[in-house]
Symmetry: C2
Subunit: 207 residues, 2 copies
DNA sequence: GCGCAAGTTTGCGTGCGCGCATTCTTTCTG
DNA sequence: CAGAAAGAATGCGCGCACGCAAACTTGCGC
């Protein structure tokens, strides 16, 4: 499946992302129309919407790369003797450790639309995470894994919203404390649910 | 705050919702433009977007009424000797018991856009639910309550997606089993987290 | 009542998202 | 290698969401 077709698709996708990020950085995110991005990448605006379904997605996608696969890999690659909760929390917190550079983050947080889009990208980790959970704990059924993943995604969204909450001073965002700590705090309430699911699986396997 | 101003706002909002629902029922959801809804309600299209931020919201809003307040009320009104998990699960499952009539649901599930919008309305319960949790368990901090509510919302979304999943026959949706049962099943994995939060509060209160 | 401050409706203009049909390119098959 | 089949890019058109500023309505104090 590595034909010339796929290569071109990834190339244009990367070109669109790079162009979007560069233009947003130069003129500010609000002064970039999709026409500009498409023109800078050498495609038509209609083609842009074949790759990204909103104006902000290209910019955000260029920053986060492919986080979902890294989270999933971190979950399945963790030692088998640690609980599911610890594995998931560490995986998620680890992937947000040094995300995309601080300056890009600053720009994203400056625009409400970009903030919303950035927060929405968390949803992309849910399906891979669910698969990772069933792979790590074969006794957990699919629905439970989906619910737990969705819960994790929701907790991460809450944490990000909190972290990026704009203060009274408009144009600035409160970057109080490390994001990692906030993520761990936000995920802690879900830990009992994760451990319960993981333990159920373990005891079932050992019986 | 019950001035003539609020009355008028609620009146036009109700008129818009009713008109949207009636037109969608008559012509099918896909053949209703916002211009039609606005005209039927006697306002301009721009005013429509002051009340609803998407074409589907008016239709869906007319069906679900105000579910969020009912869920929150059910949580705080439940006997204090039952656990938080049971209270929340019963409240959520109860409010979806006989939602808006089966025919309206059928119409919503027929259109992908309406389905998505209907599923998104679950997010509206999260903030009131978080407040209800802190009111019921004063020892739970705000962030934990928000995370738990967001987790509940995410679980409900998973359940609805599952319940409304279109089958191979296009235009029809699988209504297999009762929604209530599916909701309880989907919420069960989160029960340990809810109970743990509630118990922490209780022991703290009794110390 | 009178008039002002606060809030609402509306028209206008712009950009966005996407369905549809067409054209061009890549890949597959004989 | 030629032609067909599958897939991607593009042009066109429509409807939607929303910022902005101008009219208009409501509520409040005097």
């Amino acid at each position: 499946m590595t034909g010339l077709r796929e290569q071109k698709k990834q190339a244009t996708r990367a070109a669109l992302g790079a162009a979007a990020l560069r233009l947003a950085w130069e003129r500010g995110p609000e002064n970039v129309r999709v026409d500009d991005i498409a023109e800078a990448a050498g495609v038509s605006t209609r083609t842009y919407n074949n790759y990204f379904s909103s104006r902000e997605q290209a910019i955000v996608a260029a920053v986060i790369a492919d986080r979902e696969s890294r989270v999933a890999a971190a979950v399945v690659g963790r030692d088998a003797d640690v609980g599911l909760g610890e594995a998931v929390i560490d995986a998620v917190a680890g992937q947000y450790e040094d995300e995309g550079g601080r300056d890009a983050l600053l720009m994203i947080t400056g625009s409400p639309a970009l903030r919303a889009c950035y927060i929405d990208t968390v949803a992309a980790i849910e399906d891979p995470l669910a698969e990772a959970i069933v792979e790590r704990c074969p006794g957990v059924d699919t629905l439970t894994a989906q619910v737990l993943s969705a819960g994790v995604g929701a907790a991460v969204k809450v944490a990000l919203r909190q972290w990026l909450r704009p203060t009274s001073m408009p144009g600035f965002v409160m970057v109080s404390g490390s994001l990692t700590d906030l993520l761990r705090t936000a995920l802690t309430p879900l830990r009992p649910a994760l451990e319960a699911a993981g333990d159920t699986e373990v005891s079932r396997c050992r019986l």
